[in-house]
């Protein structure tokens, strides 16, 4: 299936998504990676409010290249999501509805997604120049001292992603690999 979704995301609609569905995302997404996640986790631990209302929102795991003069942003492809796993379940509990990244997720993250109806979307890793064309604005909203790791609000239009893991636990990585894996001679 093909979907066109606006952020903040509607969790009722998200329950319909299945691993392998293609989605175009429009609206605000929040760019955060390792250091910003560490800071956000510390804020929650100290009982402080996050720098943005996370309900229904999407976090994009990205640390973009600087924008050349006249451009909105530099290359802006996804980073490996698994490094954010340790910080993620609490954000999903707080209402985070979508994550955009690439790579494997932990059991804890997937369980939180199933429980709270969140989706893990995949963008093409290493396609940063192409993806930058879908970003129409960016502003740093917290942790400017982190440079490329600062928390940013990006406005995206028609950002192409695929559902990697849906809110029922279906995992495109597992489905895809199983389909094409050939009988193996070496005992791994």
């Amino acid at each position: 299936m093909q979907y066109n979704l606006d952020t903040p995301l509607d969790k009722e609609v998200l329950r319909k998504l299945r691993a392998g569905d293609r989605v175009e995302i429009n609206g605000a997404v929040y760019a955060a990676r390792d250091a910003a996640h560490k800071n956000m986790a510390a804020m929650l631990e100290e009982g402080r409010e996050l720098p943005f209302d996370i309900k229904g929102q999407v976090i994009y795991y990205v640390g973009p290249c600087p924008a050349k003069p006249g451009k909105v942003i530099g290359s802006a492809g996804p980073t490996t999501s698994g490094r954010m796993d340790v910080y993620t379940p609490v954000l999903v509990e707080k209402g985070l509805a979508g994550m955009i990244g690439k790579g494997l997720r932990s059991r804890d993250v997937i369980e939180a997604m199933i429980k709270h109806g969140a989706i893990y979307f995949g963008a093409i890793g290493g396609a940063g120049a192409l993806i930058a064309k879908h970003v129409v604005s960016q502003e740093i909203i917290a942790f400017p001292e982190l440079g490329p790791e600062a928390l940013r609000k990006l406005h995206v239009v028609g950002f192409p992603v695929v559902v990697l893991i849906d809110s029922h636990g279906n995992n495109l990585y597992e489905i895809g690999k199983k389909k094409y894996r050939q009988v193996y001679t070496l005992n791994l």
């Binding site: 600087p66 494997l104 120049a129 389909k179 001679t185």
Partner: protein, 280 residues
């Protein structure tokens, strides 16, 4: 004794950092295009098409192929009849990296202390490997190394009795465990032999060889071909979405080793395996 001014090295490194990050090598582009015909999965074909489109766009628009413009790994072969003046060779290289990443609008991805983790702000220092060779020239190879793939690399001290099957099992297991994380289709750099650090060095060095060039030793060339065939049976596919093309090439470098050991290092590298070189 030939004299080379350090500023020439700085300028060269600056240019190489930008060139490597903007335009993917023709060997990589050709391998991607060739594998479009081999890939059977629709998702896989779509991903490879987008990867090629992205590489062409980056080169045309003069922007980074990937936002992870990497930690700069620099291989320097210094002819023993060369004398560098002006400043130290290491300073000259790092100054070139700093200038190249700034001028090229490339992301600064280096933290100064691995524990305290404060960004150095200019992507320095580079990881520099020096090699003294014959002659009066300096060859500089810049390898911007992204960490999505670097993180999936591994090293194992095998036993001599593990032999070629042990080597194959370890390499394939490393690629299998990496799954989608290193941005497949990958290039697999393998170092076999030497000591622990020598094997790791060889694995990195192997990534600087074009993907269409096989090792000149017949038994190692055959191992490269066989490993590629078996890796592409894993089913991981482009970006891990399932498919035939998990790797574009396996590049192996070897070195003599100890009677008691068989070190094997696997350095994973993404579909944007980048390097640029110049001879001064």
């Amino acid at each position: 004794m030939r004299v080379i001014d350090a500023s020439l090295i700085t300028d060269t490194v600056e240019n190489l950092c930008i060139a490597a990050n903007y335009c993917l090598g023709n060997d990589m582009l050709d391998a991607l295009k060739k594998n479009l015909d081999v890939e059977e999965s629709d998702e896989g074909i779509y991903v490879i098409e987008k990867i090629i489109e992205n590489a062409n766009l980056a080169c045309t628009e003069q922007m980074a192929i990937c936002q992870d413009a990497g930690m700069a790994v620099v291989f320097v072969e210094i002819g023993q009849d060369v004398h560098v003046t002006g400043k130290s060779l290491g300073e000259a290289i790092n100054e070139g990296v700093g200038r190249g990443y700034k001028k090229g609008y490339l992301r600064n991805s280096v933290v100064g202390d691995p524990v305290e983790r404060v960004n150095t702000g200019d992507n320095t220092p580079a990881v520099i490997h020096y090699d003294i060779v014959e002659g009066d020239k300096i060859k500089v190879t810049v390898v911007p190394k992204g960490f999505g793939s670097e993180n999936m690399s591994a090293l194992e001290m095998l036993k001599p009795a593990d032999g070629i099957d042990g080597i194959k099992r370890f390499v394939i297991k490393t690629v299998d465990r990496a799954g989608p994380n290193p941005c497949p289709p990958v290039v697999v750099g393998v170092g076999i032999g030497g000591t622990m650090e020598k094997a790791a060095y060889l694995a990195k060095k192997a990534l600087t060889r074009p993907v269409n060039v096989r090792n000149s030793a017949v038994h190692i060339r055959d191992l490269e071909i066989e490993l590629l065939r078996e890796i592409n049976m894993l089913g991981i596919g482009p970006m891990g979405l399932g498919g035939r093309i998990t790797a574009l090439a396996v590049n192996i470098e070897v070195f003599p080793t100890h009677i008691a050991g068989l070190p094997v290092a696997v350095n994973m590298s993404c579909h944007a395996t980048r390097h640029a070189e110049a001879v001064l």
